[in-house]
Subunit: 96 residues, 2 copies
DNA sequence: TCCGAATGTCGTCGAACGGCGACATTGGCA
DNA sequence: TGCCAATGTCGCCGTTCGACGACATTCGGA
């Protein structure tokens, strides 16, 4: 997902959250923000704190890249930690 | 450049700004922020507004990507179906 | 049908934001 | 050596943040 606006970020977060089977309350707790904050972020709030957004993205196992798109010939499978994703989906995740 | 923290963003912005031969005053004017703001961003301010950061990155022609690293014009048709894997891990396998 | 979970909204509050002007420091060049 | 551009820092100010509690709405299942 190419990000140009805060709306893009909100969209990405929402889709990923649902994809991982989390509700807003759970994700907010994990990230350490209020549920209301998450509501606004998912709607594309442009003045949110960059640090909190970054933490949210990380909690969702979403990587952020800036600049030239890296390694165009790298196999995506090589960079995905399937076990972690599956564990998380099962609810056997570890806090970091 | 993989971004994990506000410091990563600041670093990226500073390097690119210099690379393009701009000083802080010029970039700040283009983005529409104060020079002081840019100073703090380049030092990794964690509570900056996401919208302004995005505008800064765009002004520097830096692309931002979130999620699985994309293969720009390559054929990710054969990409992994994460949803299916996750659903399976949850025990909610549908047809097969 | 009713109940509860999930989501969205409102008002209040202390804290921090970002802009602005001013000043200190650094470094390059005539 | 002196000058000036670039950068970093400070305080003040009006605005907005994000947390919290409470309430409204929607929707799927008992």
């Amino acid at each position: 997902m190419r990000v140009r606006t805060p709306q893009d970020i909100g969209l990405t977060i929402r889709e990923r959250r649902i994809e991982l089977g989390m509700d807003q309350t759970e994700l907010a707790q994990r990230v350490g923000v209020s549920r209301q904050w998450l509501v606004e972020i998912e709607r594309g709030k442009p003045r949110a704190e960059i640090g909190l957004v970054l933490r949210t993205l990380r909690e969702l196992d979403l990587d952020i890249w800036v600049g030239d798109v890296p390694a165009p010939d790298t196999h995506p499978a090589d960079s995905i930690d399937l076990n972690r994703i599956i564990d998380r989906a099962r609810g056997t995740d570890d806090d970091d």
